[in-house]
């Protein structure tokens, strides 16, 4: 378990370093995710302990958002002053994105399946 946590942390660190090294427009953890993905491709399977650790973390993702979300309490001025544009923009944009993504994938995937003999 400790080994798998170390792998995740090291991938993130390597990601941060590579992003700086090449001036990539990516956050470090995303580069770290790509590194781990390539590592898994080379390895050819997910080690059991890595599987357990990632299930544990990803199964409780919501928890990790809590400390940042409580930050609402220090952003109240801006959130109250611009409540209408923020609220409407977030809701409209989220629902539109959902619609566009869902319909695009459904259309393309159905077409791809039909094209297959």
């Amino acid at each position: 378990m400790l080994g798998s946590i170390t792998v995740l942390v090291l991938c993130q660190l390597a990601g941060e370093a590579i992003v700086r090294l090449f001036g990539l427009p990516l956050p470090g953890p995303v580069a770290g995710m790509v590194i781990l993905f390539l590592g898994l491709l080379i390895r050819g399977r997910v080690p059991k302990s890595l599987d357990r650790v990632t299930r544990g973390i990803l199964g409780n993702l919501g928890l990790l958002f809590v400390p940042a979300s409580v930050g609402v309490m220090v952003q109240t001025d801006i959130l109250v002053a611009e409540a209408v544009p923020i609220g409407v923009a977030v809701l409209v944009s989220t629902l539109l994105t959902m619609l566009v993504s869902g319909l695009t994938m459904q259309l393309l995937d159905r077409k791809a399946r039909k094209d297959q003999p």
């Binding site: 928890l63 409580v70 952003q75 801006i78 994105t97 869902g102 459904q106």
Partner: protein, 241 residues
Amino acid sequence: MSFDPRAAWDAIISSPMFGLALTLLVYQGAVWLFERCGRRPAINPVLVTMIVIIAVLSVSGVTYQTYFDSAKMVHLLLGPATVALAVPLYRQLPSLIRSWPAVLVTAVAGSAMALISVVVSARLLGASPAVQLSLAPKSVTTPIAMGISERIGGIPSLTAVLVVLTGVAGAMFGTWVLNLARVRSPSARGLAFGISAHAIGTTRAFQEGETQGAYAGLAIGLAGIVTAILTPLLIGWLTHI
């Protein structure tokens, strides 16, 4: 010896463990409530936890900074959690090989829609430039969104809050919107949840089914990468047309 509840209470709220304990306890309580209420999207555990913690902090007079310093351990795990998304991505490899062009096109179309629609609508409604920039990466997971926000000149802590609001909105209305649009394919539903509402939407997608959840998890990372590349390229144009 004495009996001093006041001193005991002070010891609790001034302990460096207070924020961490509060976060863990309230979140688990919120998850329990969520399960008890038949997983109704309106009782989103992150939203409930946020409201309860803010109430506790306000009553006990603990500042956000003090709370955050204590709960930081949980926040820091967002980085390794983002790295961990490589595992569901790898697990979907067979279906990804089959449908990667569709997945990629969807990720680009959805992420572009998220970025353009939020900046343009916020601008039309009179949001300040700082808010427009902070809103731009709202559909991707927190560590990525905060990084993008910082890069383009937004307020990262405001972005963190907007990301949660977006996730809750997606989790609350996603099933309804997708049903309305007759999106039935599980992979399409999963991608829609992941691209528009990151990890909080993914939690909802997993409740719909395993395939939906896996595709949503895959979409978090993919949309994160696409948005990290698109936002700096398009933001100048979006805020100045």
